[in-house]
């Protein structure tokens, strides 16, 4: 391989890895943006979404060979999984977070950790701990251009995360509901005074966030497989990405995700530091970014007015 080709292969790898982080980070940021708390269970909802999608897909597809039907059944499975997770997300919010809305900031975090334990171990109990394959609904053989390989799946991940980013930005920025979400995130009492039903807003936020998680979960599981801790490690990374991008900021989540993917790839590939230190490099760079830009890359630095 020529070194130029190697470079571009790394670039491709980094971008697509970043796409995966971005996919999860979007949902994280969305919920954080409204409720200002780290929904630790987001990754686990994503895992449930992957499993539900897998079951639905296997069921719908049956023995059909790759073709239009597999693709359609994959989409149907995705819709099913998204709906399932939306309901699950709303349910979790009602039971575990809603009673804590006025409590200390860390109380819902702990509750979320509890939910995360319940979901991941519940999944292990019901579905076993071994990895299960979610089959590609299309032919995923790599496409090689000028010596650089990329798979259709990678392209899909990038497209979907980008599309989600655009859709979410428009939704939150432009729609009535989106405005209600922003107001709710700033001051729930006052939002109510404006005639906003914050319960509905929060439920909806969870529903959307969880549905996004389900879609993300299925796309990720195509590559990473389904297993009960699917959401944990990737979820954590994605959360880091969301924060670095400026938590609560939708484009920031996307940017943070891509950046994390690139940093993880290039930190090692180009700087020539031993691969083992990949996470160290990634975190050092992220900490440096935060030090230079304490509110995240796209976060707003607004000095408090006294």
């Amino acid at each position: 391989m020529s070194s130029v080709a190697v470079f571009f292969q790394h670039l491709t790898n980094g971008l697509t890895l970043g796409g995966i982080y971005a996919l999860i980070a979007l949902g994280y940021t969305m919920v954080y943006g409204i409720l200002k708390f780290i929904n630790f269970a987001h990754g686990d909802i994503l895992m449930v979404g992957a499993y539900m999608g897998m079951f639905a897909f296997d069921f719908l597809r049956g023995d059909a060979p790759l073709g239009a039907w597999t693709f359609i059944s994959f989409l149907l499975a995705m819709i099913f999984s998204a709906v399932f997770c939306a309901v699950l997300g709303m349910f979790i919010e009602k039971v575990a977070y809603k009673p804590l809305r006025r409590a200390a900031r860390l109380a819902p975090l702990l509750s979320a950790i509890g939910v995360s334990f319940i979901l991941s171990n519940g999944a292990a109990w019901m579905w076993g701990t071994q990895s299960r394959k979610l089959n590609y609904p299309f032919d995923n053989s790599p496409i090689t251009i000028l010596g650089i390989s990329i798979t259709p799946h990678q392209i899909l991940v990038l497209i979907v995360s980008f599309a989600m980013m655009v859709a979410l930005t428009l939704f939150v920025g432009k729609s009535r509901m989106g405005k209600a979400m922003r107001a709710t995130s700033l001051d729930q009492d006052t939002a109510q005074l404006m005639g906003i039903n914050v319960n509905v807003v929060i439920s909806l936020t969870f529903a959307i966030g969880s549905a996004l998680a389900a879609v993300g979960g299925m796309l990720i599981a195509l590559d990473y497989k389904c297993y009960p801790t699917l959401g944990t490690m990737t979820g954590l990374k994605a959360f880091v990405a969301a924060v670095v991008g400026g938590i609560g900021n939708i484009s920031g989540a996307m940017l943070g995700g891509i950046l994390l993917g690139l940093v993880e790839t290039f930190g090692v590939a180009v700087l020539g530091i031993p691969q083992g230190y990949k996470d160290t490099i990634a975190f050092v760079i992220l900490i440096i970014i935060l030090l230079l830009k304490p509110e995240g890359i796209l976060g707003k630095v607004e000095k408090e007015k006294v």
Binding site: Y32, I38, V95, A96, P99, L100, R102, A103, A104, R105, L106, A107, P108, L109, L110, S111, I113, G114, V115, S116, F117, I118, S120, N121, G122, A124, W125, L236, F239, V240, V243, V244, I247, P274, G276, Y277, K278, D279, T280, F283, V284, L286, I287, L290, L291, P294, E295, G296, E304, V306
Partner: protein, 307 residues
């Protein structure tokens, strides 16, 4: 009840970390997620010095504290500008960096293989044999008691009050002449130091160290202990540590392990966390209200507090 003793031993070790976390988070209001990192530093300092360099355990203890303190300073100083969850991520990153470096610096830490055959702690030839627990437990209780009193004292002095002020309103605190940076960094240093102590004792309890013990989950558990017990309350931290340890070893203590599936234990653990938080969001004991004059403080009307 020798199995109960092991719960107490882990309670003590984790309570040490929780005390540190409480100073940082409960008092200073900084959400730090790197107790596991300092815990690891303490453990490895002891493990390396006792095995590779043949030091006595008690001599490694101050080194462990010093290293943790220096790292606490190194992480505290620059990241203090960060607020809330940004600080959480930076500190989480630090914890992961520590583990990552330990896992990769093979020549010093033996990498993923870990370090074995750590000698037992001893005083004048009397060995604190971890398998015999009682003596070990007594040693830990003494250490915990000392740290508890030192920290509680600190917290109800000017320093604790200044930290609380910084937590409540940094701008107002600065306008009252408080050097906010100084107090935040001090909290980090002290919090890191006790976690280092906890690490040292962990090393002489398990008698071997591997990077896998010092994961992010440890930091999360420590945070849970503090929040569950009650932020800003050192006794509550110890209680929180006990409760969390008790819940996680409950099936073993009662012999339920063979009756219920392994995951059920974790699911119950999760349920308890959720229920406890809904039941008492401010923690079981809540924030400790000091009473300066001998008269009792009126119970606050709404105790659930935001910070």
């Amino acid at each position: 009840m020798s199995f109960f003793q092991i719960i107490l031993i882990y309670t003590c070790i984790y309570a040490l970390m929780a005390i540190g976390q409480n100073l940082i988070t409960g008092y200073g209001g900084m959400l730090s997620l790197c107790q596991a990192g300092f815990f690891a530093l303490g453990s490895y300092a002891t493990a390396i010095l006792t095995t590779t360099y043949g030091w006595n355990f008690w001599l490694t203890l101050p080194v462990a504290v010093l290293i943790s303190a220096i790292c606490g300073f190194a992480i505290g100083m620059p990241t203090l500008r960060l607020k809330g969850d940004y600080l959480a991520i930076a500190t989480l990153g630090f914890g992961e960096i520590v583990r990552n470096v330990i896992n990769n610096w093979d020549s010093l830490t033996k990498g993923p293989m870990g370090i074995q055959k750590i000698p037992q702690a001893a005083i004048l030839g009397f060995k604190f044999n971890p398998y015999k627990k009682t003596a070990f437990l007594i040693m830990l209780v003494v250490v915990l008691a000392i740290c508890y009193f030192l920290f509680r004292r600190l917290a109800r002095s000017r320093m604790g009050r200044a930290l609380a002020a910084v937590r409540e309103d940094e701008i107002a605190a600065a306008s009252m002449g408080i050097n906010t940076t100084k107090y935040k960094v001090s909290a980090f240093i002290l919090g890191a130091s006790v976690a280092g102590i906890a690490g040292s004792f962990q090393a002489v309890y398990i008698l071997s160290v591997t990077p896998g013990t010092y994961t992010f989950m440890v930091s999360i558990m420590v945070l849970c202990m503090v929040v569950l017990g009650g932020m800003g309350n050192f006794l509550a931290c110890i209680l929180g540590a006990f409760i969390i340890q008790f819940i996680s070893y409950f099936p073993q203590l009662t012999g339920l392990t063979n009756v219920i599936p392994a995951q059920a234990k974790q699911i119950i653990f999760g349920l308890i966390l959720v229920v406890m938080m809904i039941w008492r969001p401010q923690g079981i004991m809540g924030r400790e209200k000091f009473d300066y004059s001998g008269e009792k403080r009126k119970k606050g009307a709404k105790d659930a507090t935001r910070n």
